[in-house]
Symmetry: C2
Subunit: 439 residues, 2 copies
Amino acid sequence: MCIYCLVSRDLTRICQIGLLCAILRARKVVGARVQHVGSNTISSTSSHFSFTVDAVCAVTWARAGTIQTPHGAIRTPIFMPVGTQASVKSLSPADLHEAGAQIILANTYHLMLRPGSELIDTLGGLHSFTGWDSPILTDSGGFQVFSLGHLRELSEEGADFKSHLDGSPHLLTPESVMRIEAELGADIILPLDICAAYPCAPEQARAAMERTHRWAERALIAKERYRPEQTLFGIVQGAFEPELRDESARFIGNLPFPGLSIGGLSVGEPKAVMWEMLRHTTPALPRDKPRHLLGVGSPEDLVIAVGLGMDMFDCVLPTRVARHGGLFTARGRVNIKTARFRAESGPIEADCDCYTCRNFSAAYVHHLARVGELLYYRLGSIHNVRFMLRLAGRLRETIIDGTYPAFRDEFLARYRPASEQVREDQREKWKLAHQNERA
Amino acid sequence: MCIYCLVSRDLTRICQIGLLCAILRARKVVGARVQHVGSNTISSTSSHFSFTVDAVCAVTWARAGTIQTPHGAIRTPIFMPVGTQASVKSLSPADLHEAGAQIILANTYHLMLRPGSELIDTLGGLHSFTGWDSPILTDSGGFQVFSLGHLRELSEEGADFKSHLDGSPHLLTPESVMRIEAELGADIILPLDICAAYPCAPEQARAAMERTHRWAERALIAKERYRPEQTLFGIVQGAFEPELRDESARFIGNLPFPGLSIGGLSVGEPKAVMWEMLRHTTPALPRDKPRHLLGVGSPEDLVIAVGLGMDMFDCVLPTRVARHGGLFTARGRVNIKTARFRAESGPIEADCDCYTCRNFSAAYVHHLARVGELLYYRLGSIHNVRFMLRLAGRLRETIIDGTYPAFRDEFLARYRPASEQVREDQREKWKLAHQNERA
């Protein structure tokens, strides 16, 4: 029976009326059943997507789960390397598989501009295009429109912007994003949302959240025109207002999204604020849907956020800091370019099982990084991606065997994070480097 | 019995007197035997190096051979990818093995400056440092001193120069180069030589050649202090004077070098001039020693030079043009960035067996190249390196089965080389890019 309208007899599906019914329920307009019209049933996500909670932590909100997608299973907690332009920078699909990647993320904004979603569709979608045969998640492009594009106008219709590449005009609406993501063909897709800046006035935060909610409903309906094998996650917003975070979690959590992404965090706020927002978000989320913390993060972020109930993570940080010489170790981030590695005949980290550490000395990696050899970018990225994925796997193990809280505390006691100042400096440096790239 | 002095009884070795004797013979000072003093015998290359001619072409000077080194065999004709700074740009040792590389070249000049030959020695030599377990050849650094460094003074002693990196002063002598190359630990090493510019006045050409000859003798003697497992090739010079080429080939060919590199070509002269010089060089070379054409070249160069008796080739061209979008096909070089590849769902070349063509569409490679993704540099380089090595393998097959002349003619009829103008433009562009890198 349809889980929303309680009328449709097909237990594996939600009829279109059921979908609308759920939207209306979330709007608190109707609370119960809706009359069914005809037999126009639609595919539910359940035949193409499922999430099972395999274990929960008795002390924290951490859980271990399994997501099933058309391109295979994902064991959570999981880190998703980011392939902004249909390539995780410097890594091949084989490199990613060897590093233990189970799912990667690609950016709709970049791909709609180059090479274009229609072309990727013609070439069989992102899996065929990139040669990555495991799950893919695409974001909605909204975040990049706000952070990269020259935004011309934000209206109820959508976001009118000019490309950061050539100034060409584009319009993203909740509906066009569904079409574009259908053309890209990822397993998990996200709806257009509005990511408020930090800091943000409460009334702006509410307005952005409410529009995000309306866009979520439009996306749900629009998505039904496209690929049933794709699963649309909802995006929770609410900026930095605890009550808005709670409200958004309930609203989006009640819509028929099989999974949820937590947006609007890690946009410049102090870490403590981010964790505080998660504390107000997680309890309001349905327990049976996977939770994706958008754009997070560093190793320590992963360890903490798992305890706050998050299952999925994506961030360019591991590959980006690697390209600048920052490599993760159990004791914190090191800079491979420093003199201490010049004559180090052992690997970057003694017990690391990554391809780089198994095959090359730290001295060689140091040399490649210092002289700017292209091979360095790959070897450094492999190390950091493997670090994140081994960490995610270790978190899963500790959740299953009941030792997550101890592991978390030990990890955080040992791991020296980059200071806020270092982070700020790096952010500026990257921004500059990025501007130069574009110039 | 020593093959030079005919006195020493050890057939596998040349005694030091034998070595000197050979040098004197080449100088035409003595023609026959020299009295032996003591039992101070030296290792011959023959226990660590051998060259066998497997087949010769009945029509041209082409031959197929096998070189044995301490790190394995090399089937000739062979192309050697260049790992300037101890890395073939963007490629890992595994990539090189998969592309069929049998031997790579590394540049002494770059490595003596960064990370330093002493450090590489401490770390077990280039094989251990890079993880490349097959043969390696190092050049002498001379060419880079003349083309990159700020040369301060060239004297009979050696070349006094300032590093192009930090202006630090360095002196390369025939003796110091032997020490540096011993520290680097390649299988095949080259002596310091003087590469004349094009064009070059005949008297300058002679002076450079004669000093190169004197340095070759000093290198032979100095080399005896270091690793017997390394094989020192001689370098033939003579600029663009046919009689000097002939003279240098005879002089260097008569010295106890187990192999010979032909230097001073491909330095800006028209291709026809290069081939003319080879026509005057090859007949004067001993037939039982492998011949390495330094710094050459393009696919068509390889095909032509094999017919002129060359066995080994090295050049940055295949990897460098790949990084700029130029990819080799049987019909000539194509630019992967051009629109014709935008929607090409097939590989770069239909029957190419390289990793790139087996795994990715031309459209994806085109996209990566257009947006400047790091993965492009690797995929493009793999394609071109594999092209060169498949071509070398094909040349070997045709020499063995007697069809080389027909293959050469068919290849050259089909393959459209980059025009001299395109080459000149590219050279300028690269020079500029290189200057920017250094800035």
